[in-house]
Amino acid sequence: MGLSLDASVALIAIAPFLAAILAPLIQSLAGRFAAWILFIVPAGIFIVLLGLAERVVAGQTISTAIGWVPSFGLTLGFFVDGLSLVFALTISGIGALIVLYAGAYLRGHRHLGRFLAFLLAFMGAMLGLVLADNSLAIFMFWELTSITSYLLIGFDAGRQAARRAAIQALVITNIGGLCLLVAIIVMQQLSGTWLLSELRGLEGVVRDSAFYGLVLTLVLAAAFTKSAQFPFHFWLPNAMEAPTPVSAFLHSATMVQGGVYLLARLTPVLGETSVWTGTLVAFGSVTLIWGAIGALRQTDLKQILAQTTIASLGLLVVLIGLGSKAAIAAMIVYFIAHAFYKAGLFMVVGGVDHEAGTRDITALGGLADKMPVSFIGAALGALSMFGLPLTVGYFAKEEMYLAAFGGDWLAWLVLAVLILGNALLAGIALLIMIRPFLGDALPTPRKPHEAPIAMLSGPLILGGVAVVGGLLPEWLGHDVLAPATLAVLGVEAEPHLSLSFDITNPVLWLSVITWGLGILVFRQAHRIRVLLRRAELAIGWTADRAFDAVMFGLIRFAGAVTRFLHHGRLEIYLFTVFAMLGLALFVPLSLLGGFDWIVPTADLGDWSKRLVLPDLRIYEWGILLFVLVGLLAVLIAQSRLIAILSLGIQGTGLALIFLLFGAPDLAFTQLMVEVLSVVILTVVMTNLRLDARDHRPFEDWARDGTLAVICGAGVSHLLMLVLTGTFDSRLSDFFAKTSVPVAHGANIVNVILVDYRGLDTLGEISVVMGAGIAILALLRRRNKPAIAARGEP
């Protein structure tokens, strides 16, 4: 291909998002051709990526980086190796088909443009996720896939089920995402790099650290939530609320594979330990069986597919956990096989739903006559899923049995689980292929006819590729599996896929057993379903319902907490503040020895001299008494006017104190303000009848009084503690020295106000002015209905 690397990066990184932004516009301009126009973007990306394939197959890794956030070492770039290329090709290839499919599926929908925008944005994010080397960038794309998925699941937002599924998916995957972020940060701090390629090279830096357990837990939490591993699997079936193109693209082929990709990517960093293998195999196995059984329980075709997706994801995790060359190769080939057949099957199911009006497998039959092309698509996919030779699915099964074959009893157990899982999936594949299409035709809500070409091209192409892949085992092994396995494990591996059936190979017989069991499952599907439904009723509890319980519990809890804390009662808010004040005044000081000075010691004995009766003059005592009487009168005042007058008294007393201790300006102002306060209070009181009495019951009285005394004593004490120190009078000395000669004012206080600290005064008069405006605003208009009033019912 002729594109330079940087141009390729730019195209892949920017084009999907640009297309997403423009999609609504294109839709409104081009109408039904919008999808065809937008198809160019993923198709182009696919071709560009194919152009890189040659070098990757040759064993190279292609990387480039454009600086983005240098302060984090965050780059916008590209790291293409076998693994990421497989994923990226799958994403863009299926993405292109999905865009076409969606255009037909939602034809005439007024928000088709919006839908395509989300879809393309998702694709961009997904490509970013698999192509980025910088772990922060991976996280960002990871989160972006969650967000776009949220918007897509909730696309049909009028229904509560869709909204619920969307929130559920987002919450679950976001929790995982945040775990991933913390893990990434820890890994960065352990290794000093954000780049996974470098991290993979730093053998053991994470694995041998004390944080390995933490990082592993966090990464697994991320991967398991994203890839719907048990017990986080329940969001995936619900995500089927999304329109079918979304299910086909996100919830089978791409997004849910993000966790698998992450685990594969981090295998060299975190893998190859017994914890890793044990955890992955255990969770994967349970997920595999759980998903497969879940699928058998369903009658809705989409739900069946969703549950099998869970099973397949479990299978992939088991394979990553096994971690051998064969297992990784099996993982890659199974990933490809699954992506192709599952996307195709989803598209077919969407077509059936679209044309027949139902997806209930028990209500469908004999559609092959009316929808022959759809049937071919379904058959291609289902046979690959069944694992028939000549399809990619066959090799997937072969490789995984090979990987698990032989070893200790645990390995045999894993093998048994794999066989059981594959058998169940094979049975379900037959179910999907045969039940709706063959047998007697059943009446359906709509009169079925063949789906449009745009909806058929996907299944056919994907099914075709599955078969082509199945016919070209050499190519598959050499050009796809080898580079991918190299990318994961960092060692050369050349899986030998072949179509030569060697009946001495036990693996072949394992396949045969799988098929046989699969046919058995298909035959007994109805009975199994009835049995499972009974069991479900008996248990009466699912993780899905638990989610509701947790969410509603959280909401109720939040409501209770909020109502408890924000009750609207000012006096309690104030009590809280003063309680904090009491704590602030006593706790730090008592911890730091702030009360020591009170205890007489040899070197701190000075205090007792200072506490003997101070040398106050008689009239000073009188003023103190005056102030105290005023304060007492304020406290016990039984009428509003006495309270006001008492307020004036204590203020006047304070002014006299200021006057006695050399602060005439202060006294002056205090007096004026005090009198004016009384005046304003009086004027206001003239207009209303307020009760100034204290209605507090005794308990409140005692409680508030105690707190008040604590606060008062605390402030007094802290002030005294401050007073024990010597005072630094630099500032005042400077003012005294310069007031007359430099500032030309004899009244130092006034000079401070208008010159040394004039800015304070400027602010102060602004406050005065502001008070004027505010009071005018209060008095000017009354009871003008505002929107706020309508808020409360």
Partner: protein, 101 residues
Amino acid sequence: MTASAFIDLTSLIALIILGIALLVSLVRIVIGPSIADRVLALDLMTVIAMGFIGAIAVRTGLTLYLDIAIALALLGFLATVALARYILRRGLKVDAAMELQ
């Protein structure tokens, strides 16, 4: 007795007398019984406080305190006017009854 000693003495006496006067008028403020009585006592109190400031001015020799005294008289008048209006509008009795409770 020198003039300044005399001034010292008289100002001290004046301060003490005025201090007592302040407290006496405080009693009327506290016991009421009607608002008007309290207001009247407060009005007197501002005048006494004015005298107090004057006495301090004499005692400290800072005659500029005089202005504070005058300003106090000015605003004291305003306060009395406002309180008189309060009485005019709110009456004496309701409040008096409340106080008896």
